[in-house]
Amino acid sequence: MKKKFQMENLDCANCAAKMETLIQNIPGVRSASMNFMTQKLTLEADDDRFEEILEEAQRCCDKVDRGCRILRP
């Protein structure tokens, strides 16, 4: 499943790149791209574990920049 999420408080480009790398390394993630300019995360991951992976992705963001949130639709 591939989904796009709006990000909140994504303030530094370097952080976005770091988050992207961390999220890409979560097991079950097929592809992840963090767009700094449009503040959007495109996540492609296994369907059955998607929710779990999304939470893990949020933890990755917390590690890099506290206050940066993945907004759920």
Binding site: N14, C15, A17, K18, N35, M37, T38, T42, D62, V64
Partner: protein, 632 residues
């Protein structure tokens, strides 16, 4: 300004007042009577006011194993400065860092907004026809095939077909084309365009997810995920630069005092300068921002670039190969002469109209138009298309051949080749040569200006591939002064011809192919950059190409090239500028000539300048949109 930015500004102002007072008092000698810790406290107050969040994040990130970020570097640098007794500098570094961050965040916010404004073509609502009248709903909720009403001045929410009403439609937001298109019952309308004076009833033909405007927005948004090689370079560079500079800072702080017995505080101060300039932010922000701006500026002209990498490819273009029909020429064929060898002109034309009766090819249409009557298709028994040669059909029980010289030769039919610079359709009926139809296709208006502008933008070789007869293709080649013309190519030959041109392309330069994206998808894919023209509403072309030009105006090509060149020029300027300043400060710092103030400029100052420069990619100077005049 957001709430966060306002809060930050307030803190900065307060801290600046406190720090300013402290510095003034110290200079006036009022602080001489204070103990060292009282003095420290006086400077710690403004420092913590602006720096507390930085310190907290630095500690948190270390706990998470993310050591080398700017928070850590700034925290270490300022704490070290406090340790060696440089109180005012320590507080000032943090204050300036926050000023820079605030400025940077505003600049990023501004460019984000101007980019979103650029992409503000998404419709907000649709007027759905329901039994109880019109309902204003979200375009996403409109079912496929339902009836919607587009009122004057409204944005068309979904792709569809006009059922009722007439209007002029402004496609400028999508194509950059100022001339409106006419919409009348039966004609298709495209989402994202703005309706003119009339009210239209439209039956939707696509759901919101597949509608043109959604696809375009997605394309532009996803474009920045296809990174250009230079972006990859920056990412790798950033990964190594910070740890290396930090390590150097550590060595600088420890080695000279230990090995040569130098003054600790002096060398720690020099190390702090290293830490302050060790953030690669200027590069990491400005490079993608430049590309994004370039892609945004291009989309304003109706040019969709599907990735930053294609902007880089475009900027290195040395060879540009065109398809002939519909790309360099208008693609509107007109029958210009009927030359019968046997029988009358009318007989010949009727035969041809019958043979082409089922074909959708533009040439077939031009023949049918010239015949002017409805062909009696019941007389046509079977039609077989021979790729690149023509049609073979059975009319009134006898065999009819329509097509090129090759077709007739292959069937052993005796004929006299006509000597014309145009497209020729030979007609043979029942084994006898009957004559030839001469069909002409005009060169697009503005083609020569566009090609001239392309050469001015750095294209060295312009070539053309065509399936058409050699004399017809060469006539176009001569008129437009093309460097190479390959004619009489079957679809599969086009790929081979392109490959040989690819081999001839100089190293580090690229080859582009321009076509309509419909029957030349393999060639589009094979080229370094495939450009499809006239693609508004054509999904296949949007899919196959790397760069999509929504209308069929050739002057968009030099615009695309100039935007690509400008973007890459700005990217290179930023990289060179940021690296030069940082390295200069590193060297001066190591030698003891730089102070903290300079170092802070090297960090946030450079970032801000690079961001401002990158934002130039978004602006179009007048020069970028118009073909340059013919002087020089």
């Amino acid at each position: 300004m957001t709430k966060k930015q306002k809060l930050s500004l307030l803190r900065i102002i307060l801290a600046a007042l406190l720090l300013g007072t402290a510095i003034v008092l110290e200079h006036l000698g009022n602080l001489d009577s204070l103990l060292w810790w009282q003095k420290l406290g006086l400077y710690l107050l403004p420092y913590l006011l602006v720096g507390f969040s930085v310190l907290r994040e630095a500690v948190e990130h270390i706990c998470h194993g993310q050591v080398f970020d700017e928070n850590f570097l700034m925290a270490t640098a300022s704490v070290a400065a406090f340790c060696v007794g440089e109180y005012p500098e320590a507080a000032a570094v943090m204050l300036l860092y926050q000023v820079g961050e605030l400025f940077q965040s505003c600049a990023v916010g501004r460019s984000r907004r101007s980019i979103t404004a650029l992409m503000d073509i998404a419709p907000e609502y649709a007027n759905l026809e329901t039994p109880d009248g019109l309902a204003k709903i979200d375009p996403e909720e409109v079912p496929l095939g339902s009836m919607i009403v587009v009122k004057p001045g409204e944005r068309i929410p979904l792709d569809g077909v006009v059922i009722q009403g007439e209007s002029q439609i402004d496609t400028a937001a999508l194509t950059g084309e100022p001339v409106p298109r006419t919409a009348a019952p039966g004609s298709g309308v495209i989402s994202g365009c703005v309706n003119g004076e009339g009210t239209l009833r439209v039956r939707t033909t696509k759901g919101y997810a597949d509608t043109t405007v959604t696809r375009i927005l997605e394309l532009v948004e996803d474009a920045s995920s296809r990174k250009a090689p230079v972006e990859g370079f920056i990412t790798r560079f950033a990964r190594w630069y910070t740890p290396i500079v930090t390590l150097l800072a550590l060595l600088l702080a420890v080695v000279p005092p230990l090995a040569y017995g130098k003054d600790w505080s002096d060398w720690i101060r020099r190390a702090c300068i290293f830490l302050v300039v060790s953030c690669p932010c200027a590069l990491v922000i400005s490079v993608p921002l430049s590309f994004f701006g370039g892609i945004g500026a291009a989309s304003r002209h109706g040019i969709l670039v599907k990735g930053s990498n294609y902007l880089e490819t475009l900027s290195k273009l040395s060879t540009l190969v065109f398809d002939k029909t519909g790309t360099l020429t208008r693609g509107e064929f007109k029958l210009s002469a009927v030359l019968p060898a046997r029988g009358s002109e009318a007989e010949l034309l009727e035969l041809a109209a019958l043979g082409e009766g089922y074909s959708n090819h533009p040439i077939a249409r031009s023949i049918r138009d010239a015949w002017g009557q409805a062909a009696e298709l019941s007389r046509v028994q079977s039609v077989q298309e021979i790729a690149g040669q023509g049609l073979c059909s059975v009319v009134d029980g006898r065999k009819l051949l329509l097509g090129s010289e090759k077709l007739l030769k292959a069937r052993g039919i005796d004929f006299t080749p006509a000597d014309k610079d145009s497209t020729l359709v030979y007609v043979a009926f029942d084994g006898l040569y009957r004559g030839v139809l001469v069909i002409s296709d005009g060169i697009k208006a503005g083609a020569d200006t566009a090609l001239w502008a392309l050469r001015a933008a750095g294209v060295e070789k312009i070539a053309m591939l065509s399936g058409d007869r050699r004399p017809a293709a060469e006539a176009v080649g001569r008129t437009l002064k093309l460097d190479q013309v390959e004619a009489e190519l079957l679809p599969q030959d086009k790929v081979a011809a392109l490959e040989s041109m690819l081999k001839a392309t100089p190293k580090n330069r690229t080859l582009g192919y321009v076509g309509d994206g419909l029957n030349d998808a393999p060639v589009l894919t094979r080229a370094d950059v495939g450009i499809a023209m006239g693609s508004l509403g054509s999904d296949a072309a949007i899919e196959a190409a790397d760069v999509v030009i929504m209308d069929d105006d050739l002057s968009k090509l030099p615009i695309a090239l100039r935007i690509a060149n400008k973007t890459l020029r700005i990217v290179r300027q930023n990289i060179a500028f940021a690296l030069a300043v940082k390295f200069a400060i590193l060297i001066l710092g190591a030698l003891g000539y730089a102070n903290m103030w300079l170092a802070v400029f090297g960090d946030v100052g450079v970032s801000v300048i690079a961001i401002l420069n990158a934002m130039r990619c978004l602006q179009e100077s007048h020069r970028d949109c118009l073909p340059r005049p013919f002087y020089s």
